[in-house]
Structure formats: C-alpha cells, structure tokens
C-alpha cells in the first residue's frame, strides 16, 4: 500500500525533524504534581517548586519522601513549574486564590510586591521561635526583610564570580586581576592575540547588567544604590558614578573585550565558549559552577582547568570594595493558606541543618543554612565560595531583582542597545530614570 508507506515515511521524516531539534529528549513538563501517598484525612500542604532539573528534582523528592514518612499527618504535594513559566504561573494562581501553601520566591521587589499585596505571611514571629531565624547565614536574610517584617526564608545563595582558564593565564604569565584596571590590562593581552577576553551571553538581556550592578556598588556605594533602586524612596540615580559605571562597561564592548554577537549568544553557547577555550574568562553566577566543574556540557577534565576570582575592585569608589554581588532565592508561605502550621512544619524541616547538608551534598550548591557546607558535603570551589561569603561584609543584589518590573524591562532593553553601540551610556541612564520616575509615581498612587 503506497499510501501507508508514505504515511510511515512522513512520520519518520517528522520524527527526524523533531529529533534534530532535540525535542525527543525527555523534558520536565511545565507543571507536575507528585502523587499523594498520605493517609486519608491528612492535612494537605502544596509546595510550589521550580526545581525541575536534575539533580535538584531527585534530591528534593528524597527529602519530601522522608518528610512524608516522618509526618504521616501531613500530605505534602510538590508542584513543579519550569522557572521560565513560574512568574506568570504563580501570579495567576495567587489571583485565582489557588496558590500553593508554600511557594518559591525571588527576593527583592518581586517578593516585596507579594508583601504589599498581603499575599504572603510575615514570618518574623515564627523565625524568632526556637532560634529558627538564627540558623540562616546572615548575608542571606536582608533581602527577605521589608517594612519591618520577614516575608520568606532563604534557600540557595547565588553570587557572581569571574571564572578564568588557569592554563591560559599561566601561559601568558598573568595573575587573576584584583582591580578593574588590572582586568583591562589582562583583557588587552588576550585582545592583542586576536582573542575575545571575556565571554558574554546577553540574549536574555540580564547578564550584561551584572557588570553594571557591581560597578555601581563599587563606585556609588551599596546603600545609595539600594536607595535609588527603590521606588518608595526619593532616589533618582543622580550620582555621577552611575554614568561612569555604564561608560566603563561600554568601554569593554568598544574595545572588543566581550565575545562577538553577545546579544544573540545563549547561555549554553556562552558556557561552550569557555569550555572550548575560545575565551579565557567569563563572569557568571555560582549556578554554573557545577555545570562547568563536571557535566556532559564540558570536556572531561575541564573542571581542573579553571579557577575563579572575586569581582574586581574600583579603587577610590565610595562602595565597600569587599562586597560580593548576588542574592538568595527562597520560599514564602501563602497568606490565605488553610494549613499554616503544617506548611511551617515542612518549611522548618526543609531548612533544618540535617536536610540542608543533604541538599548541599546532592546539589553542590550553597544552601543558606549555617553548617550546611563543610568538608563532607561540599567540593573545594563550593567551600571557597562559602568562606568568601562568610568573610564578605555584605552582598549587593543584582539590580534586576530590586527594580520594579517595568523599570527593569526598560533598563535591560536599553543596556542591550548599549552593547551593540546604538544607545549611549547617558541614554541608558535617562531611560532608567524616566521609567523609575513613572513607577515611583504609580507606587505613590498605590499607597
């Protein structure tokens, strides 16, 4: 039957095309709920998580299974959502009065808005009980505090570092730069050889602003910067250090220190630039440490080739030059939950030292609980990161989590224009100021 044969042929062809696009690989679905195994009558606790990828998902599943075994009176249901889908999904769930009892949050303005809308519980009283609040690392807590309350608990802490190819540096007699000027000198050495010194991916728009955020903290000062980000203050980005920081980043682009086509480079290709030794340096968050240390994405043994250095200082700047840049993520309790006590029992269990240590072992990421990172649970680089964090006088958050959403979008768009040379640093700042002023006027109307 020719028709049947052609049907098979069409199916095979479609299958090949789909396989070629990598759709054949099993992916975590957008939203999945784990089946319940609890006894009838148990209190249901819905837990909204974005840990859809391995090893996070299986580690969380093990912890959840242990919790269910210890607390048969609580029916814990984990609901997974892809991180990219999460923001609209949780807002829709909250609007529909159907949010999970405990759900994932990014701190900063995103969480503050939930607090302003009375959508999450103030956990200040709970954190004071039994020293629960004291067990978190100090640098993780401030972003969850707002208007005298604490609106969530931290889970994983992410900070930015420069990663560099040690072999490429040693071959040229270079040492990791400590200041911005030293960084420029290192870049020039590689550039003279015709190599882009720093890999950059900016298709998602946010990576470039990490450079600007750290320069603003170094030049303008951490308190002033936080004040200016906030739409509830009189901050207006008037310090001349703002445009200076933008010009310094523009200089990196103008001199060709960033890899080509950064506005179209995805995160995967960005890691490949570093892993295939096309660029000697990248600036990235600690979420990439595990992938670049040991995964299918990088050649075998590549994990031993690279090291990391702290974000460079800007001597003479008004900020504390020892600050790190980053932010924790965390969890909040829905204000309209009908299972508050059970939800808090789960959250306390999840953030206990015992479970935190198990999470660090499984994930090789920094869990914001004191004592979670130690020689038994963490590798060298993670331990060094934990020590840096403990020694740091503070952590400045990246701007995109602190800016009001419409301000963030306008600012990040303008920055991607600055990268390709179509928008000047002055115009980026003007765009930011304009969007910020509009958002501040709206915030005042709200209150």
């Amino acid at each position: 039957m020719p028709i049947t044969r052609y049907l098979w042929l069409a199916c095979a062809l479609a299958g090949c095309l789909v396989a070629a696009t990598d759709c054949g690989r099993p992916r975590a679905p957008s939203a999945v709920v784990t089946p319940s195994t609890a006894a009838p009558g148990a209190t249901v606790v819905r837990f909204g998580s974005v840990w859809v990828n391995e090893p996070r998902k299986s580690t969380l599943e093990k912890v959840a299974a242990e919790f269910r075994a210890r607390h048969p009176e609580i029916d814990l249901r984990v609901e997974y959502t892809q991180p990219d889908d999460y923001k609209p999904a949780i807002r829709t769930a909250v609007a529909a009065g159907n949010a999970p009892d405990v759900f994932f949050v990014w701190p900063g303005e995103w969480l503050r808005k939930f607090a302003r809308g009375h959508q999450v519980l103030d956990l200040t009283g709970e954190l004071a009980k039994d020293g629960w609040g004291d067990q978190f690392i100090p640098n993780a807590m401030p972003l969850f505090e707002y208007r005298g309350g604490t609106w969530g608990v931290p889970m994983l802490m992410q900070c930015a570092y420069f990663l560099y190819n040690n072999e490429m540096f040693v071959k040229r007699g270079l040492a990791p730069p400590k200041t911005w000027d030293e960084l420029l000198r290192v870049c020039e050495v590689f550039k003279r050889e015709g190599m882009a010194p720093i890999g950059l991916s900016n298709v998602n728009k946010w990576p470039l602003h990490h450079y600007v955020s750290i320069l603003w903290q170094r030049i303008v000062g951490e308190d002033r910067v936080l004040d200016d980000y906030d739409t509830e203050t009189e901050g207006s980005f008037s310090d001349p250090g703002y445009v200076e920081g933008l010009r310094m980043v523009r200089l990196l682009a103008d001199k060709g220190y960033f890899s080509e086509n950064a506005n179209g480079t995805s995160r995967e290709m960005f890691r490949q630039l570093f892993a295939t030794e096309r660029v000697p340096m990248i600036m990235t968050g600690t979420w990439d440490l595990g992938v670049l240390q040991n995964s299918d994405e990088v050649p075998e043994g590549f994990g031993d080739k690279w090291d990391m250095f702290a974000l460079p200082e800007v001597p003479g700047g008004k900020g504390n030059q020892a600050y790190m840049m980053g932010a924790p993520d965390g969890y909040a309790v829905w204000a309209d939950t009908k299972s508050k006590d059970a939800a808090l029992t789960w959250l306390r269990f999840l953030t206990s030292t015992e479970v935190a240590q198990r999470l660090v072992s499984g994930l090789q990421e920094l869990v914001c609980v004191k004592g979670a990172v130690n020689e038994q649970t963490a590798g060298d680089k993670l331990r060094r990161y934990a020590a840096d964090l403990e020694a740091a006088p503070g952590v400045t958050p990246w701007a995109d989590i602190m800016l009001e959403s419409s301000v963030r979008e306008a600012y990040l768009d303008a920055l991607s224009g600055m990268l390709d040379g179509t928008v000047s640093p002055e115009d980026v700042l003007a765009t930011l100021r304009d969007a910020h002023a509009k958002a501040r006027a709206e915030t005042r109307t709200e209150s």
Binding site: L17, T21, V94, N261, A262, T265, S406, S416
Partner: protein, 286 residues
C-alpha cells in the same frame, strides 16, 4: 428550536473560548489590573495612551508590517511555484509535497531552538558553511545584529509556512479543469504561459484567501521571536505579540498588554473586512 439545538454545542464552544475571552480582553484594556496587589482600577483609554507613547510599540507595529509584506512577498510566490511544480501525482512529487509541508508539524518553539543553533554567531552551521565558502572565519551574528535579526526571523517563518500555503494553493489548482490545460497545450502554450494564462486567473480567489491567512498569521507571530531573540537586541525584533507578552507578564502591566491585544484584534479584523470586500467585488456583488 431544532436548528438552534444543532448549533448550540458549537455556539457554546465559540462563546466560551472566543467571544467571552475577547470581551474580557476588551474590558481589561480599560483597567489597571494587578492581581498580586489586588488592584483593578478603571483607567479609561490610559492604557492605549501609554502604549501609543512607548517607542517599542511603534517598532513592533513597523516590524509586524514588514513581516506581513515580506511574508506575502516571499511565501505566496514560492508556494505558487512549488504548487505548480508539484501538482503532478507522481510518487516523487507527492514525497516532495510531504517534505515541504513537514515544517508545519514541528512546534514553533522547537523551530526557534533549532534555528538559534543554526544561526549562532560562534558555533552556528550557517557561519561554518560560509567560512568554508569564504575560506576564512565568518562570525556574523545573525540574530544579534539588528541589521539582520528581523530578516532572519522572517526567513525562518517563511521556511515553516511556505509548505502549508503550497498545499492551500495546490488544493485550489486541483479544482481547475484539466481540459483547459490540455487545450492550451494543444495550442502550444508552455509551462509559464499555462501558469500565467490559466492557473493564476482561476486561482485568484484562493490566493486572496491565502494572502489573508499569511497576513493574519504574520500579525500573530510570537513563538519564533520569543525563543530566538525575545524581541531584542534593544527591541529591534519586537513584534506586537512579544510586546504584548512583555507588557502583561514581564512588566506586569496586564491592562497595557490587553490594549495591545485589542490593537492586534483591530488589525486582524481590518484584514478580514478587506478580504470580504475584495471577495464580494470578485463575485460581482454590488
């Protein structure tokens, strides 16, 4: 009542999934809505004024217009030529028709990912091929360079949909009596003469409908742009649908997002009206 009973199920589905959401969207455009802050405030036409004064909206409108023109200019002639060339019922032609149609069955997101890899400036297959031809390293940022980005996206859309329009035109061609072609052949008409003298005039109404489909599809384009460039760099590839998404979900301005949706609805309805007028003129209606 019996006729109403017959149409009731279809009417219910239409109301539930089209008419009511459209009505709600129209209402939402007149409100400032923030579900997290529990805000729902009537603002009249302010959302429309906001988007009208926003430069990315103008870029999105211009890009959509360019998308429509280029899609019609590329997809319809290509689809027509393919349909005319592959109308034969031989195995080879039928196999090729399947090949050209197959991109349509791939989800837009998958196509976006696939072409992001092909067009990547550093590791992409296109630059690798060009490097081989040129004899030196080519690193054009096809989706990073604002001069190329939009055209690359339109080209990807043309790759995906030309096969579909080929099928639409092919169906129209199969309705043309074969005697006309036989007579023309006897009179010594060549392939191009038959195409220009018989196929095109008799296919006019189908082509009109197809042009409308291309135009409406071009107004709604979202997935390829969102996956490949997210409207960047600096809004260079912004289209109305990505701008709507950005307003509603990234900037958390649901009302402004709804206002963009209303603009898209008006444009789409405009095309439908134009089509209906032209179709009536074609049929000789007063």
């Amino acid at each position: 009542m019996v006729p109403y009973a017959f149409v009731a199920p279809a009417l219910f589905v239409f109301c539930a999934f089209a008419l009511i959401p459209i009505a709600l969207g129209l209402c939402a455009a007149a409100f400032r809505i923030d579900p997290v802050l529990r805000v729902c405030e009537y603002v009249g036409a302010r959302n429309f004024a906001t988007i009208a004064s926003d430069p990315p909206f103008h870029i999105a409108l211009r890009n959509n217009l360019l998308w429509i023109l280029l899609s019609i200019g590329v997809q319809i002639p290509l689809a027509l030529l393919l349909a005319a060339a592959l109308i034969d019922q031989s195995r080879f032609c039928r196999a090729l028709r399947t090949v050209f149609f197959s991109p349509l069955v791939i989800p837009g997101v998958a196509i976006g990912i696939m072409f992001s890899i092909v067009l990547d400036g550093q590791f992409g297959a296109l630059n690798a091929a060009l490097s081989w031809v040129e004899g030196h390293q080519v690193t054009v940022g096809w989706t990073a360079d604002r001069r190329w980005a939009l055209f690359c996206l339109i080209a990807v859309a043309c790759w995906q949909y030309t096969g579909y329009h080929m099928m639409v035109l092919l169906a129209g061609m199969q309705g043309i009596p074969t005697e006309l072609y036989e007579a023309a052949e006897i009179d010594g008409a060549g392939w191009w003469q038959r195409l220009g003298g018989i196929t095109l005039p008799l296919l006019r109404r189908v082509m009109l409908a197809d042009v409308l489909l291309v135009a409406i599809g071009s107004v709604k384009v979202f997935d390829i742009v969102q996956v490949m460039t997210q409207g960047g760099p600096n809004n260079a590839t912004e289209v109305l649908a990505t701008y709507m998404y950005s307003q509603a979900f990234m900037s958390e301005r649901m009302g402004s997002g709804a206002a963009v949706a209303v603009v898209m609805l008006i444009i789409t309805l405009g095309f439908a009206v134009i089509h209906s007028r032209l179709a009536r003129l074609e049929a000789g209606a007063p």
